[in-house]
Protein backbone atom coordinates (compact mmCIF):
# COMPACT_ATOMS: atom_id res chain seq x y z
CA UNK A 1 0.00 0.00 0.00
CA UNK A 2 1.39 3.38 -0.95
CA UNK A 3 1.76 6.25 1.45
CA UNK A 4 -1.16 8.06 -0.14
CA UNK A 5 -3.46 5.09 0.26
CA UNK A 6 -2.63 4.44 3.91
CA UNK A 7 -2.96 8.12 4.66
CA UNK A 8 -6.34 8.11 2.96
CA UNK A 9 -7.80 5.19 4.86
CA UNK A 10 -6.75 6.76 8.15
CA UNK A 11 -8.50 9.92 7.13
CA UNK A 12 -11.73 8.14 6.29
CA UNK A 13 -11.71 6.33 9.62
CA UNK A 14 -11.48 9.68 11.33
CA UNK A 15 -14.56 10.78 9.43
CA UNK A 16 -16.41 7.72 10.68
CA UNK A 17 -15.66 8.66 14.26
CA UNK A 18 -16.99 12.17 14.03
CA UNK A 19 -19.75 12.70 11.53
CA UNK A 20 -20.60 9.35 10.01
CA UNK A 21 -24.24 9.22 8.95
CA UNK A 22 -24.29 5.88 7.18
CA UNK A 23 -22.14 3.14 8.67
CA UNK A 24 -21.72 -0.29 7.16
CA UNK A 25 -19.67 -2.80 9.13
CA UNK A 26 -18.55 -6.27 8.09
CA UNK A 27 -21.43 -6.77 5.73
CA UNK A 28 -21.71 -10.24 4.20
CA UNK A 29 -24.22 -11.50 1.67
CA UNK A 30 -24.30 -14.80 -0.14
CA UNK A 31 -26.94 -15.83 -2.66
CA UNK A 32 -27.88 -19.47 -2.69
CA UNK A 33 -28.97 -20.76 -6.05
CA UNK A 34 -29.83 -24.42 -6.59
CA UNK A 35 -26.52 -24.88 -8.42
CA UNK A 36 -24.12 -22.83 -6.36
CA UNK A 37 -23.43 -20.33 -3.60
CA UNK A 38 -22.58 -16.86 -4.86
CA UNK A 39 -20.66 -14.79 -2.33
CA UNK A 40 -21.57 -11.27 -3.39
CA UNK A 41 -20.53 -9.13 -0.42
CA UNK A 42 -17.53 -10.33 1.56
CA UNK A 43 -17.11 -7.95 4.48
CA UNK A 44 -17.99 -4.42 3.40
CA UNK A 45 -16.92 -1.53 5.63
CA UNK A 46 -18.11 1.92 4.72
CA UNK A 47 -18.89 5.26 6.29
CA UNK A 48 -20.67 8.14 4.64
CA UNK A 49 -20.89 11.51 6.30
CA UNK A 50 -24.03 13.61 6.40
CA UNK A 51 -24.55 15.79 3.36
CA UNK A 52 -21.94 13.96 1.30
CA UNK A 53 -22.35 12.72 -2.24
CA UNK A 54 -20.70 9.35 -2.04
CA UNK A 55 -20.01 7.30 -5.14
CA UNK A 56 -19.40 3.57 -5.36
CA UNK A 57 -17.85 2.32 -8.56
CA UNK A 58 -17.30 -1.23 -9.68
CA UNK A 59 -17.52 -3.48 -12.69
CA UNK A 60 -20.62 -5.43 -13.53
CA UNK A 61 -21.27 -8.15 -10.98
CA UNK A 62 -19.08 -6.55 -8.30
CA UNK A 63 -22.09 -6.40 -5.97
CA UNK A 64 -22.99 -2.71 -6.20
CA UNK A 65 -26.73 -3.19 -6.51
CA UNK A 66 -26.72 -5.79 -3.77
CA UNK A 67 -24.87 -3.42 -1.44
CA UNK A 68 -27.18 -0.48 -2.05
CA UNK A 69 -30.24 -2.72 -1.73
CA UNK A 70 -29.01 -3.88 1.66
CA UNK A 71 -29.23 -0.29 2.86
CA UNK A 72 -33.03 -0.19 2.60
CA UNK A 73 -33.25 -3.90 3.33
CA UNK A 74 -34.59 -4.78 -0.07
CA UNK A 75 -31.91 -7.42 0.34
CA UNK A 76 -31.32 -8.99 3.74
CA UNK A 77 -27.65 -9.23 4.63
CA UNK A 78 -26.36 -12.45 6.19
CA UNK A 79 -24.34 -10.64 8.82
CA UNK A 80 -22.92 -7.23 9.62
CA UNK A 81 -24.21 -3.91 10.86
CA UNK A 82 -25.95 -1.20 8.87
CA UNK A 83 -26.67 2.03 10.65
CA UNK A 84 -28.33 5.04 9.05
CA UNK A 85 -28.83 7.98 11.38
CA UNK A 86 -30.20 6.42 14.56
CA UNK A 87 -31.58 3.32 12.88
CA UNK A 88 -29.91 -0.04 13.09
CA UNK A 89 -31.71 -1.22 10.04
CA UNK A 90 -31.15 -4.97 10.13
CA UNK A 91 -33.07 -5.11 13.44
CA UNK A 92 -36.17 -3.16 12.41
CA UNK A 93 -39.47 -5.06 12.62
CA UNK A 94 -41.50 -5.11 9.41
CA UNK A 95 -43.87 -2.26 10.30
CA UNK A 96 -41.06 0.04 11.26
CA UNK A 97 -39.13 -1.06 8.21
CA UNK A 98 -41.86 0.42 6.02
CA UNK A 99 -41.78 3.68 7.97
CA UNK A 100 -38.01 3.75 7.66
CA UNK A 101 -38.15 3.07 3.93
CA UNK A 102 -40.46 6.04 3.55
CA UNK A 103 -37.51 8.13 4.68
CA UNK A 104 -35.03 6.61 2.23
CA UNK A 105 -35.41 7.78 -1.35
CA UNK A 106 -34.33 5.52 -4.17
CA UNK A 107 -33.93 6.06 -7.89
CA UNK A 108 -33.36 3.43 -10.52
CA UNK A 109 -31.73 2.84 -13.87
CA UNK A 110 -35.06 2.18 -15.55
CA UNK A 111 -36.93 4.82 -13.54
CA UNK A 112 -39.69 2.41 -12.44
CA UNK A 113 -42.44 5.01 -12.65
CA UNK A 114 -46.05 3.88 -12.45
CA UNK A 115 -47.53 3.99 -15.95
CA UNK A 116 -51.05 4.08 -14.53
CA UNK A 117 -50.35 7.38 -12.78
CA UNK A 118 -49.74 10.87 -14.08
CA UNK A 119 -46.61 12.75 -13.13
CA UNK A 120 -48.53 14.38 -10.30
CA UNK A 121 -49.88 11.04 -9.07
CA UNK A 122 -46.45 9.41 -9.26
CA UNK A 123 -44.90 12.07 -7.06
CA UNK A 124 -47.95 11.95 -4.80
CA UNK A 125 -47.61 8.19 -4.33
CA UNK A 126 -45.13 8.11 -1.41
CA UNK A 127 -47.15 10.82 0.31
CA UNK A 128 -50.37 8.81 -0.06
CA UNK A 129 -48.56 5.85 1.47
CA UNK A 130 -47.31 8.03 4.31
CA UNK A 131 -50.87 9.22 4.91
CA UNK A 132 -50.70 12.93 4.12
CA UNK A 133 -53.85 14.97 3.52
CA UNK A 134 -54.92 15.81 -0.05
CA UNK A 135 -54.11 19.46 0.47
CA UNK A 136 -50.66 18.74 1.86
CA UNK A 137 -49.98 16.33 -1.00
CA UNK A 138 -50.92 18.88 -3.64
CA UNK A 139 -48.72 21.50 -2.07
CA UNK A 140 -45.72 19.17 -1.73
CA UNK A 141 -46.02 17.65 -5.17
CA UNK A 142 -46.21 21.04 -6.81
CA UNK A 143 -43.11 22.27 -5.03
CA UNK A 144 -41.23 19.05 -5.86
CA UNK A 145 -42.11 19.36 -9.53
CA UNK A 146 -40.92 22.94 -9.49
CA UNK A 147 -37.64 21.78 -8.00
CA UNK A 148 -37.09 19.29 -10.83
CA UNK A 149 -38.40 21.78 -13.39
CA UNK A 150 -41.31 19.70 -14.57
CA UNK A 151 -44.16 21.98 -13.52
CA UNK A 152 -45.53 21.94 -17.08
CA UNK A 153 -45.73 18.13 -17.22
CA UNK A 154 -47.85 17.75 -14.12
CA UNK A 155 -50.73 15.99 -15.87
CA UNK A 156 -48.67 13.99 -18.36
CA UNK A 157 -48.26 10.25 -18.14
CA UNK A 158 -44.77 8.68 -17.96
CA UNK A 159 -45.44 7.28 -21.44
CA UNK A 160 -45.26 10.85 -22.77
CA UNK A 161 -41.91 11.73 -21.22
CA UNK A 162 -38.30 11.42 -22.37
CA UNK A 163 -35.81 9.38 -20.35
CA UNK A 164 -34.39 12.47 -18.67
CA UNK A 165 -37.83 13.76 -17.76
CA UNK A 166 -38.77 10.34 -16.37
CA UNK A 167 -35.72 10.32 -14.13
CA UNK A 168 -36.62 13.81 -12.92
CA UNK A 169 -40.03 12.49 -11.95
CA UNK A 170 -38.25 9.57 -10.29
CA UNK A 171 -36.15 12.03 -8.30
CA UNK A 172 -39.18 14.12 -7.35
CA UNK A 173 -40.98 10.98 -6.23
CA UNK A 174 -37.97 9.83 -4.21
CA UNK A 175 -37.68 13.21 -2.50
CA UNK A 176 -41.36 13.97 -1.94
CA UNK A 177 -41.41 12.59 1.58
CA UNK A 178 -38.26 14.50 2.55
CA UNK A 179 -35.95 11.52 3.00
CA UNK A 180 -32.67 11.61 4.88
CA UNK A 181 -30.80 9.70 2.20
CA UNK A 182 -31.11 9.25 -1.54
CA UNK A 183 -29.92 5.96 -2.99
CA UNK A 184 -29.19 5.96 -6.69
CA UNK A 185 -28.67 2.69 -8.54
CA UNK A 186 -27.20 3.53 -11.96
CA UNK A 187 -29.71 6.36 -12.29
CA UNK A 188 -28.05 7.83 -15.37
CA UNK A 189 -26.96 4.65 -17.12
CA UNK A 190 -29.93 4.65 -19.49
CA UNK A 191 -29.52 8.32 -20.43
CA UNK A 192 -27.52 10.10 -23.13
CA UNK A 193 -24.49 12.18 -22.00
CA UNK A 194 -26.25 15.52 -22.10
CA UNK A 195 -29.27 14.28 -20.17
CA UNK A 196 -26.93 12.54 -17.75
CA UNK A 197 -25.27 15.88 -17.06
CA UNK A 198 -28.56 17.61 -16.39
CA UNK A 199 -29.71 14.86 -14.03
CA UNK A 200 -26.38 14.93 -12.18
CA UNK A 201 -26.62 18.73 -11.96
CA UNK A 202 -30.03 18.27 -10.42
CA UNK A 203 -28.64 15.83 -7.84
CA UNK A 204 -25.86 18.26 -6.93
CA UNK A 205 -28.37 21.07 -6.72
CA UNK A 206 -30.60 19.06 -4.39
CA UNK A 207 -27.64 18.05 -2.28
CA UNK A 208 -26.73 21.72 -1.85
CA UNK A 209 -30.27 23.01 -1.31
CA UNK A 210 -31.58 20.28 0.98
CA UNK A 211 -28.37 19.02 2.53
CA UNK A 212 -29.41 15.56 1.41
CA UNK A 213 -26.93 12.68 1.71
CA UNK A 214 -26.63 10.90 -1.61
CA UNK A 215 -25.18 7.46 -2.20
CA UNK A 216 -24.81 6.65 -5.85
CA UNK A 217 -23.48 3.62 -7.62
CA UNK A 218 -22.25 3.60 -11.15
CA UNK A 219 -19.82 1.93 -13.50
CA UNK A 220 -18.82 5.25 -15.04
CA UNK A 221 -15.94 7.14 -13.48
CA UNK A 222 -17.14 10.29 -15.23
CA UNK A 223 -20.32 10.24 -13.16
CA UNK A 224 -18.32 10.07 -9.95
CA UNK A 225 -15.80 12.72 -11.06
CA UNK A 226 -18.61 15.09 -11.89
CA UNK A 227 -20.83 14.51 -8.90
CA UNK A 228 -19.16 12.97 -5.87
CA UNK A 229 -16.89 14.20 -3.11
CA UNK A 230 -15.97 10.80 -1.77
CA UNK A 231 -15.85 7.43 -3.45
CA UNK A 232 -15.22 3.76 -2.88
CA UNK A 233 -14.12 1.12 -5.33
CA UNK A 234 -15.93 -2.20 -5.12
CA UNK A 235 -14.23 -5.27 -6.50
CA UNK A 236 -15.75 -8.74 -6.26
CA UNK A 237 -17.59 -7.97 -3.04
CA UNK A 238 -14.81 -6.08 -1.31
CA UNK A 239 -14.08 -2.37 -1.00
CA UNK A 240 -10.54 -2.16 -2.28
CA UNK A 241 -10.11 1.59 -2.10
CA UNK A 242 -11.94 4.57 -0.66
CA UNK A 243 -11.34 8.25 -0.15
CA UNK A 244 -11.75 11.66 -1.78
CA UNK A 245 -12.48 11.37 -5.50
CA UNK A 246 -9.52 13.52 -6.58
CA UNK A 247 -7.05 11.41 -4.64
CA UNK A 248 -8.22 8.19 -6.17
CA UNK A 249 -8.51 9.67 -9.62
CA UNK A 250 -4.98 11.10 -9.63
CA UNK A 251 -3.38 8.37 -7.59
CA UNK A 252 -5.24 5.07 -7.83
CA UNK A 253 -3.69 2.20 -5.91
CA UNK A 254 -5.98 -0.79 -6.48
CA UNK A 255 -5.96 -2.65 -9.78
CA UNK A 256 -9.64 -1.92 -10.35
CA UNK A 257 -9.26 1.80 -9.69
CA UNK A 258 -6.24 1.95 -12.01
CA UNK A 259 -8.24 0.20 -14.69
CA UNK A 260 -11.16 2.59 -14.31
CA UNK A 261 -8.83 5.58 -14.59
CA UNK A 262 -7.13 4.09 -17.62
CA UNK A 263 -10.42 3.33 -19.33
CA UNK A 264 -11.61 6.80 -18.48
CA UNK A 265 -8.51 8.43 -19.98
CA UNK A 266 -8.65 6.32 -23.13
CA UNK A 267 -12.31 6.22 -23.91
CA UNK A 268 -13.92 9.25 -22.38
CA UNK A 269 -15.02 11.35 -25.29
CA UNK A 270 -17.08 13.48 -22.96
CA UNK A 271 -14.99 16.45 -21.89
CA UNK A 272 -16.20 16.48 -18.34
CA UNK A 273 -14.77 18.62 -15.62
CA UNK A 274 -14.15 18.80 -11.93
CA UNK A 275 -16.46 21.61 -10.88
CA UNK A 276 -15.44 23.88 -13.71
CA UNK A 277 -11.77 23.00 -14.16
CA UNK A 278 -11.03 20.93 -17.25
CA UNK A 279 -9.06 17.72 -16.89
Amino acid sequence: MSYAASHRSKESENISDTSSFITVKDLYKTFHTPEEKVEVLKGINLTVSKGDIFGIIGFSGAGKSTLIRCLNRMEIADSGVIRIGEHQIQDLPKKELNLYRQKIGMIFQHFNLFDSRTVFQNVAYPLEIAGYSKKEIKHRVESMLELVELGDKINSYPGQLSGGQKQRVGIARALANQPDVLLSDEATSALDPQTTLSVLDLLKDINRKLGLTILLITHELDVIKYTCNTMAVLEKGLIVEKGPVRDIFFNPTSETAKLFVKINANFSAKQWVFEGEAI
Partner: protein, 236 residues
Protein backbone atom coordinates in the same frame (compact mmCIF):
# COMPACT_ATOMS: atom_id res chain seq x y z
CA UNK B 1 -89.57 -25.29 -39.95
CA UNK B 2 -86.42 -26.91 -41.29
CA UNK B 3 -84.48 -27.63 -44.44
CA UNK B 4 -86.23 -30.95 -45.05
CA UNK B 5 -89.63 -29.42 -45.56
CA UNK B 6 -88.74 -25.88 -46.73
CA UNK B 7 -86.17 -24.05 -48.84
CA UNK B 8 -83.14 -22.41 -47.26
CA UNK B 9 -84.33 -18.90 -47.94
CA UNK B 10 -87.66 -19.49 -46.28
CA UNK B 11 -86.00 -20.98 -43.22
CA UNK B 12 -83.76 -17.97 -42.85
CA UNK B 13 -86.66 -15.60 -43.35
CA UNK B 14 -88.61 -17.43 -40.68
CA UNK B 15 -85.65 -17.17 -38.32
CA UNK B 16 -86.40 -13.45 -38.20
CA UNK B 17 -90.13 -13.92 -37.97
CA UNK B 18 -92.36 -13.09 -34.98
CA UNK B 19 -93.18 -16.73 -34.15
CA UNK B 20 -89.51 -17.62 -33.68
CA UNK B 21 -88.77 -14.48 -31.68
CA UNK B 22 -91.67 -15.09 -29.37
CA UNK B 23 -89.65 -18.09 -28.20
CA UNK B 24 -86.14 -16.66 -28.53
CA UNK B 25 -86.68 -13.24 -26.93
CA UNK B 26 -87.52 -14.50 -23.42
CA UNK B 27 -84.60 -16.89 -23.70
CA UNK B 28 -82.31 -13.93 -24.35
CA UNK B 29 -83.44 -12.39 -21.10
CA UNK B 30 -82.79 -15.64 -19.22
CA UNK B 31 -79.33 -15.91 -20.73
CA UNK B 32 -78.51 -12.30 -19.93
CA UNK B 33 -79.74 -12.76 -16.38
CA UNK B 34 -77.52 -15.80 -15.82
CA UNK B 35 -74.57 -14.27 -17.62
CA UNK B 36 -74.66 -11.00 -15.74
CA UNK B 37 -75.00 -12.67 -12.33
CA UNK B 38 -72.18 -15.08 -13.14
CA UNK B 39 -70.10 -12.17 -14.43
CA UNK B 40 -70.40 -10.36 -11.12
CA UNK B 41 -69.52 -13.42 -9.03
CA UNK B 42 -66.67 -14.34 -11.33
CA UNK B 43 -65.22 -10.84 -11.22
CA UNK B 44 -65.21 -10.62 -7.45
CA UNK B 45 -64.24 -14.20 -6.63
CA UNK B 46 -61.83 -14.65 -9.55
CA UNK B 47 -60.00 -11.41 -8.80
CA UNK B 48 -59.72 -12.37 -5.16
CA UNK B 49 -58.59 -15.92 -5.88
CA UNK B 50 -56.10 -14.78 -8.53
CA UNK B 51 -54.57 -12.26 -6.14
CA UNK B 52 -54.38 -14.85 -3.36
CA UNK B 53 -52.59 -17.21 -5.75
CA UNK B 54 -50.15 -14.49 -6.73
CA UNK B 55 -49.52 -13.25 -3.19
CA UNK B 56 -48.94 -16.67 -1.63
CA UNK B 57 -46.69 -18.01 -4.37
CA UNK B 58 -43.11 -18.82 -3.50
CA UNK B 59 -41.87 -15.57 -5.05
CA UNK B 60 -44.98 -13.67 -3.94
CA UNK B 61 -45.48 -10.83 -1.49
CA UNK B 62 -46.39 -13.13 1.40
CA UNK B 63 -45.11 -16.61 0.49
CA UNK B 64 -47.18 -19.54 1.78
CA UNK B 65 -45.88 -22.30 -0.46
CA UNK B 66 -47.92 -25.18 0.98
CA UNK B 67 -51.22 -23.30 0.98
CA UNK B 68 -50.43 -22.02 -2.49
CA UNK B 69 -49.75 -25.50 -3.84
CA UNK B 70 -52.98 -26.86 -2.35
CA UNK B 71 -55.06 -23.99 -3.71
CA UNK B 72 -53.34 -24.25 -7.06
CA UNK B 73 -54.14 -27.96 -7.19
CA UNK B 74 -57.85 -27.32 -6.51
CA UNK B 75 -57.93 -24.66 -9.21
CA UNK B 76 -56.21 -26.98 -11.67
CA UNK B 77 -58.60 -29.84 -10.95
CA UNK B 78 -61.62 -27.58 -11.50
CA UNK B 79 -60.09 -26.26 -14.70
CA UNK B 80 -59.33 -29.69 -16.06
CA UNK B 81 -62.94 -30.90 -15.76
CA UNK B 82 -65.12 -30.20 -18.81
CA UNK B 83 -67.82 -27.66 -18.01
CA UNK B 84 -70.53 -30.22 -18.67
CA UNK B 85 -69.15 -32.54 -16.00
CA UNK B 86 -68.87 -29.64 -13.56
CA UNK B 87 -72.48 -28.72 -14.14
CA UNK B 88 -73.60 -32.27 -13.48
CA UNK B 89 -71.43 -32.45 -10.38
CA UNK B 90 -72.56 -29.16 -8.91
CA UNK B 91 -76.30 -29.46 -9.48
CA UNK B 92 -76.76 -31.53 -6.30
CA UNK B 93 -74.81 -28.84 -4.46
CA UNK B 94 -77.24 -26.25 -5.79
CA UNK B 95 -80.08 -28.28 -4.35
CA UNK B 96 -78.28 -28.21 -1.04
CA UNK B 97 -77.62 -24.46 -1.07
CA UNK B 98 -80.65 -22.96 -2.80
CA UNK B 99 -83.12 -25.77 -2.53
CA UNK B 100 -83.54 -26.58 -6.23
CA UNK B 101 -81.51 -28.11 -9.01
CA UNK B 102 -83.16 -26.44 -12.01
CA UNK B 103 -83.68 -22.95 -13.34
CA UNK B 104 -81.23 -20.08 -13.78
CA UNK B 105 -80.33 -19.68 -10.09
CA UNK B 106 -79.40 -23.32 -9.69
CA UNK B 107 -77.11 -23.18 -12.65
CA UNK B 108 -75.34 -20.02 -11.58
CA UNK B 109 -73.59 -22.02 -8.89
CA UNK B 110 -72.27 -24.41 -11.51
CA UNK B 111 -71.36 -21.55 -13.83
CA UNK B 112 -69.41 -19.74 -11.12
CA UNK B 113 -67.54 -22.89 -10.10
CA UNK B 114 -66.55 -23.53 -13.66
CA UNK B 115 -65.58 -19.94 -14.57
CA UNK B 116 -63.88 -18.59 -11.43
CA UNK B 117 -60.79 -20.86 -11.59
CA UNK B 118 -60.19 -19.91 -15.20
CA UNK B 119 -60.49 -16.19 -14.52
CA UNK B 120 -58.34 -16.53 -11.38
CA UNK B 121 -55.47 -17.98 -13.43
CA UNK B 122 -55.84 -15.18 -15.98
CA UNK B 123 -55.76 -12.59 -13.18
CA UNK B 124 -52.68 -14.23 -11.74
CA UNK B 125 -50.81 -14.11 -15.03
CA UNK B 126 -51.93 -10.53 -15.76
CA UNK B 127 -50.60 -9.32 -12.43
CA UNK B 128 -47.38 -11.26 -12.84
CA UNK B 129 -46.77 -9.18 -15.97
CA UNK B 130 -46.33 -6.02 -13.87
CA UNK B 131 -42.62 -5.29 -14.07
CA UNK B 132 -40.49 -6.25 -11.11
CA UNK B 133 -38.98 -2.78 -11.12
CA UNK B 134 -42.27 -1.09 -10.30
CA UNK B 135 -42.90 -3.48 -7.43
CA UNK B 136 -39.35 -2.85 -6.21
CA UNK B 137 -39.91 0.89 -6.32
CA UNK B 138 -43.18 0.61 -4.41
CA UNK B 139 -41.60 -1.59 -1.75
CA UNK B 140 -38.59 0.70 -1.48
CA UNK B 141 -41.03 3.53 -0.73
CA UNK B 142 -42.35 1.53 2.21
CA UNK B 143 -45.62 0.30 0.72
CA UNK B 144 -47.40 -2.38 2.80
CA UNK B 145 -48.88 -5.30 0.84
CA UNK B 146 -52.51 -4.20 0.67
CA UNK B 147 -51.83 -0.77 -0.87
CA UNK B 148 -49.24 -2.44 -3.09
CA UNK B 149 -52.04 -4.56 -4.54
CA UNK B 150 -54.68 -1.84 -4.75
CA UNK B 151 -52.52 1.14 -5.70
CA UNK B 152 -49.88 -0.49 -7.88
CA UNK B 153 -50.54 -4.02 -9.07
CA UNK B 154 -54.19 -3.72 -10.10
CA UNK B 155 -53.94 -0.27 -11.73
CA UNK B 156 -50.75 -1.21 -13.58
CA UNK B 157 -52.26 -4.47 -14.82
CA UNK B 158 -55.66 -2.94 -15.63
CA UNK B 159 -55.58 -3.17 -19.47
CA UNK B 160 -54.43 -6.77 -19.24
CA UNK B 161 -57.02 -7.53 -16.53
CA UNK B 162 -59.77 -6.16 -18.76
CA UNK B 163 -58.65 -8.38 -21.61
CA UNK B 164 -58.63 -11.34 -19.23
CA UNK B 165 -62.13 -10.51 -18.05
CA UNK B 166 -63.31 -10.25 -21.65
CA UNK B 167 -62.10 -13.78 -22.27
CA UNK B 168 -63.78 -14.90 -19.06
CA UNK B 169 -67.12 -13.27 -19.98
CA UNK B 170 -67.11 -14.94 -23.39
CA UNK B 171 -66.46 -18.25 -21.68
CA UNK B 172 -69.33 -17.50 -19.30
CA UNK B 173 -71.68 -16.93 -22.24
CA UNK B 174 -70.66 -20.20 -23.80
CA UNK B 175 -70.96 -22.19 -20.57
CA UNK B 176 -74.31 -20.52 -19.91
CA UNK B 177 -75.54 -21.80 -23.26
CA UNK B 178 -74.31 -25.24 -22.33
CA UNK B 179 -75.98 -25.09 -18.94
CA UNK B 180 -79.23 -24.34 -20.76
CA UNK B 181 -79.75 -27.96 -21.64
CA UNK B 182 -79.41 -28.95 -17.98
CA UNK B 183 -82.50 -27.10 -16.95
CA UNK B 184 -81.14 -23.58 -16.73
CA UNK B 185 -83.16 -22.26 -19.65
CA UNK B 186 -81.96 -19.50 -21.91
CA UNK B 187 -80.63 -19.57 -25.45
CA UNK B 188 -78.78 -22.85 -25.10
CA UNK B 189 -81.95 -24.50 -23.88
CA UNK B 190 -83.99 -23.11 -26.77
CA UNK B 191 -81.36 -24.13 -29.31
CA UNK B 192 -81.30 -27.69 -28.03
CA UNK B 193 -84.94 -28.16 -27.27
CA UNK B 194 -86.33 -26.66 -30.47
CA UNK B 195 -83.42 -26.56 -32.87
CA UNK B 196 -81.99 -29.98 -32.16
CA UNK B 197 -84.75 -32.16 -30.74
CA UNK B 198 -87.61 -30.81 -32.85
CA UNK B 199 -85.69 -29.92 -35.97
CA UNK B 200 -86.72 -26.25 -35.85
CA UNK B 201 -83.77 -24.94 -37.78
CA UNK B 202 -85.13 -21.41 -37.85
CA UNK B 203 -85.09 -21.24 -34.06
CA UNK B 204 -81.62 -22.71 -33.98
CA UNK B 205 -80.41 -20.05 -36.40
CA UNK B 206 -81.98 -17.26 -34.36
CA UNK B 207 -80.46 -18.53 -31.08
CA UNK B 208 -77.01 -18.94 -32.59
CA UNK B 209 -77.22 -15.50 -34.15
CA UNK B 210 -77.99 -13.91 -30.82
CA UNK B 211 -75.08 -15.76 -29.15
CA UNK B 212 -72.68 -14.68 -31.88
CA UNK B 213 -73.79 -11.07 -31.54
CA UNK B 214 -73.47 -11.22 -27.74
CA UNK B 215 -69.91 -12.50 -27.97
CA UNK B 216 -68.99 -9.90 -30.57
CA UNK B 217 -70.37 -7.10 -28.45
CA UNK B 218 -68.47 -8.29 -25.38
CA UNK B 219 -65.24 -8.59 -27.34
CA UNK B 220 -65.76 -5.16 -28.86
CA UNK B 221 -66.37 -3.51 -25.49
CA UNK B 222 -63.46 -5.32 -23.81
CA UNK B 223 -60.97 -4.54 -26.57
CA UNK B 224 -62.15 -0.95 -26.73
CA UNK B 225 -61.87 -0.35 -23.02
CA UNK B 226 -58.46 -1.97 -22.73
CA UNK B 227 -57.19 -0.01 -25.71
CA UNK B 228 -58.66 3.23 -24.40
CA UNK B 229 -56.74 2.88 -21.14
CA UNK B 230 -53.51 1.89 -22.84
CA UNK B 231 -53.83 4.88 -25.15
CA UNK B 232 -54.67 7.24 -22.33
CA UNK B 233 -51.43 6.18 -20.65
CA UNK B 234 -49.54 6.67 -23.92
CA UNK B 235 -48.32 3.09 -23.92
CA UNK B 236 -49.18 2.53 -27.57
Amino acid sequence: MNLHNRGGFEVIKSAFGPEVWAIVAPAILDTLYMTVLTMIFTLVLGLFLGIVLMVTAEEGLQPRPLFNKALGAVVNVLRSLPSMILIILTLPLSRLFIGKAYGPEACIFALVVSCVPMFARLVESSILEVSKGKIEAAKAMGTPNIPLITKVLIPEALPSLIRAYTIAVIAIISVTALAGSFGAGGLGDVAVRFGYSRFKTDILIAAVLVLVILVQVVQFIGDGLSKYITKKRFLI
